[in-house]
Assembly symmetry: C2
Homo-oligomer: 324 residues x 2
Amino acid sequence: MRITALAGGVGGARFLRGLKAHLDVVAPESELTIIANTGDDISLFGLRVCPDIDTLLYTLGGGIDEAQGWGRADESTRVQGELAAYGAVPQWFTLGDLDLGTHIVRSQWLAQGLTASEVTGRLAARWGLPGRGIRLLPMTDVPVETHVVLDEGDGAGEKAVHFQEWWVRMRAEVPATRFVVAGLDRAAAAPGVLEALRSADVVVLPPSNPVVSIGIILGVPGVRDALRGSRAPVVGVSPLISGRPVRGHADACLSAIGVSSTASAVAELYADFLDGWLVDPADADVRVRGVETAVHPEPLLMTDVDAAARMAKSLLALADRVRG
Amino acid sequence: MRITALAGGVGGARFLRGLKAHLDVVAPESELTIIANTGDDISLFGLRVCPDIDTLLYTLGGGIDEAQGWGRADESTRVQGELAAYGAVPQWFTLGDLDLGTHIVRSQWLAQGLTASEVTGRLAARWGLPGRGIRLLPMTDVPVETHVVLDEGDGAGEKAVHFQEWWVRMRAEVPATRFVVAGLDRAAAAPGVLEALRSADVVVLPPSNPVVSIGIILGVPGVRDALRGSRAPVVGVSPLISGRPVRGHADACLSAIGVSSTASAVAELYADFLDGWLVDPADADVRVRGVETAVHPEPLLMTDVDAAARMAKSLLALADRVRG
């Protein structure tokens, strides 16, 4: 079975780790292709940081800080302490020492002329993903960056900050009026991305942020069309439970684009290509026209790998049902 | 008193720390300008590393690994472990975590368009040097790199490696036939360098490597002429004791340029501008035409700051003598 998934960071990575654990039991020969969001990439201290790809690498490769959901286990911040001592800015983005190793080799390889896809392939090899049937692709090889236009109140005028500054430093507490993804409209999908969508047996949307993760990937030219034209079932997991994001600030992102924070409203965003939608028991009444809804028998909480694997099992069962 | 010194890494840094300690007692208002060798700079993992400047910063700023002579005290190598895990090369140059902070900010600031002088000034500010009357200047703002042409034996042909590869990985054990300093002949002295030589009350040559540290600085256009024309006494400390380098591989470097490893032969290299030469008791018979020789009352070993301070005291006394 060929499964293709779109993914952001923590939620996507945890779900896909559960999916992989489930597949290892029921269909060990499956191939999982992950199309990762790179819209929240950022350059810090001259180094290229790809937060979602790194979270996917570390989570799927066994190096993640479990409690935090991002960054490396057993991490330290000695280098960042030095950067602060030198007065280098910004200091609001935590760069751990082990994590910095990734950013340094990525930056070096990019400077040597490798594409983002090639770099990601090398990084994934170190984490053992190819040998386990997991292919990790950036959504595009073109550098794109999401900027957030802020509403700072009467007469303050418009101000835009990098997505990470809004997400990490401001904790998404300053209202956003819109997201501008510089370069996205001319960003070609990375090699293999459109093919992976077209040739999949199932396309999966993990419970990633519908605006700044999945929504950005859908903005890469050709991706949405490939999903609309997909023969395979496209099934997703709601990132919201009873109108609240399980994690992160999806509600603030949805609010910025004028969409209400409900499991049904998120499914509506995907309605032109979505076949099945897995929701929490608390959202059992969700109905979206043209989309088959299934209710997971327990809360949609990825408390551990087994819980995520059970969600993946429900989602694949739903895919079978809509395939008919 | 205005003192200007040329300096390489460990030997230069330890001597100048002693000189500064001595000055703090006898002439606390003195200004010490250090012209640092940048000929052994290297780019590693896309980061710009300036080994001599860093050794000077850490030694004079109180952050040096005392036993090793270079690198930071209380250092770790977690980032480098990651670089190795990713298969990034080279691995023969140790980059500690704290040390990497310096390389990262330096590289970022250079990429932002700051000159090497400006970057060095910022780094020195963090280490408190300006507030203590110490001005640290790179010899030039132009990137220069020393390459070593190796003699690998009959018929092997010529092969050149970066100086650091020869020095660190090969431990200078493969015979060198010559040093090529790419860019040096067109490298303008950094702002303040020639002025500091011309306006000094004393010019000091610490016991740095005469070929790949002092010798490189002397190759910067204008530096040697400024020394020849100096009104101030130019006095130096022999880096050799009884024909052996106190530390490092000065003998291998001297051999490559066809100079014997003796205190007198090194002084001959400087004879066109040198006024005074401080030697070890074991070299009390050294005579160099036109150069006043003084014998330090104890071995020229910088076992601690006090020992280096006593050497500096001897050297300044010699400067007074030749000033006459």
